[in-house]
């Protein structure tokens, strides 16, 4: 079981790095992306192992990875999106997109309904995770700015 998770995490990291190359990301940002992606996948598998709930695990992974991307981007003085997109790619529900389409073509309406719903929920979980973190960061930054202005 652990071996399978380790293999999948490694594969996810390779996939993330590949996407980083598609976007022409160079240098030590690649290292940050590899680490972030590994942490993201490990937390996803950890959550999945304990909760057995795919959607909720993806939400946890997405929140964590957005947090890592926001913090690392500020340390490295680089736009957040550069780090965030490649890191989050392995969470994208490509598999469920495929399976729901397959059930649809096969005419298996019940299975289609289930997997399509799961896919939408997973996509929404990623979106919600990213939105939540970037909203929190904005609130923190804006209140810090406001605080600085008051103190002046």
């Amino acid at each position: 079981m652990m071996g399978e998770y380790f293999l999948k995490t490694t594969m996810a990291v390779i996939g993330s790095l590949g996407f980083a190359v598609f976007f022409n990301i160079k240098g030590k940002k690649l290292l940050a992306i590899a680490l972030g992606s590994a942490i993201c996948m490990m937390s996803y598998f950890f959550a999945f192992f304990h909760l057995q709930d795919k959607v909720f695990s993806i939400l946890i992974g997405a929140i964590l990875v957005s947090g890592i991307a926001e913090i690392t981007a500020r340390i490295m003085k680089t736009p957040v999106i550069i780090l965030l997109v490649p890191m989050v790619i392995p969470l994208v529900p490509g598999g469920d997109l495929y399976y729901s389409m397959r059930y649809f073509i096969l005419g298996n309406t019940q299975e289609f309904g289930i997997s399509f719903q799961v896919m939408l929920k997973e996509a929404a979980a990623i979106g919600f995770g990213i939105i939540l973190v970037s909203f929190l960061v904005q609130v923190i930054l804006k209140s810090r700015k406001y605080w600085m202005e008051i103190r002046k």
């Binding site: 999948k8 996939g15 590949g18 736009p79 490509g94």
Partner: protein, 248 residues
Amino acid sequence: MNESKLVDSMLDLGEILFTSGAEVNRIEDTLMRVGEAYGFLRVDVLTITASILLTVHAPSGAIITQTRRIRKMEINMEKVSQANALSRYICTHKPELEYVQQQLQQIREISHYSETVMLLAYICVAASFTVFFGGGILDAFISGCSAVIVRILIRIGNRIKMNPIFQNMMCSAAAGLIVVALHKIGFSIDADSIVIGNVMLLIPGLALTSSLRDIIGGDMITGLLVMTEAILKAVAIAIGFTVLLIGG
């Protein structure tokens, strides 16, 4: 300093950011900051999907408006990163216009990874996601081979300026066809994981993520337009690989 030329250079900076894949929020914020650094009294920027509109009130009393229409998108995060660094430098040092133009030219000339590296990346991504979604070694190998074909199709599509949505459909159909053909010949392969590996290559992850961030940043128009395009692309991918399901 020639104000009209300066506004033109600011738009150049915005254009580089936009075409390379930055979010709208970042472009508007960057142009505002640069404008303020050069002492413009008021800077108004509007960026919607394919155009940047910039009006500045110069200290001399002149009001200058320029627009830029953006047609070609080529994602290149190194350019975004460098343009971001340049805007930070401008805000702290206020360099001469010639220096800025020279730096902009350097950013424009930043090269992409070579075709060999890109091809390798395609193979790695497809193969690794095939294993990720439950494929074996043989499946990963076939997935890598079909990734080469996907890359070739994308190159051809870019050359003849094919509609990106249709291009996605074609690429995922090609991956599906390869799997069907191999299956008919008699290879025992895991068709699902191979196609998913290739689907992951085409998924518009950047567009989806940046549109979400745009919407949160308050840029509803751009966010919704980009998101619609991304969803259409995902649907096109799904339609493309139905070839496999009907044929196999």
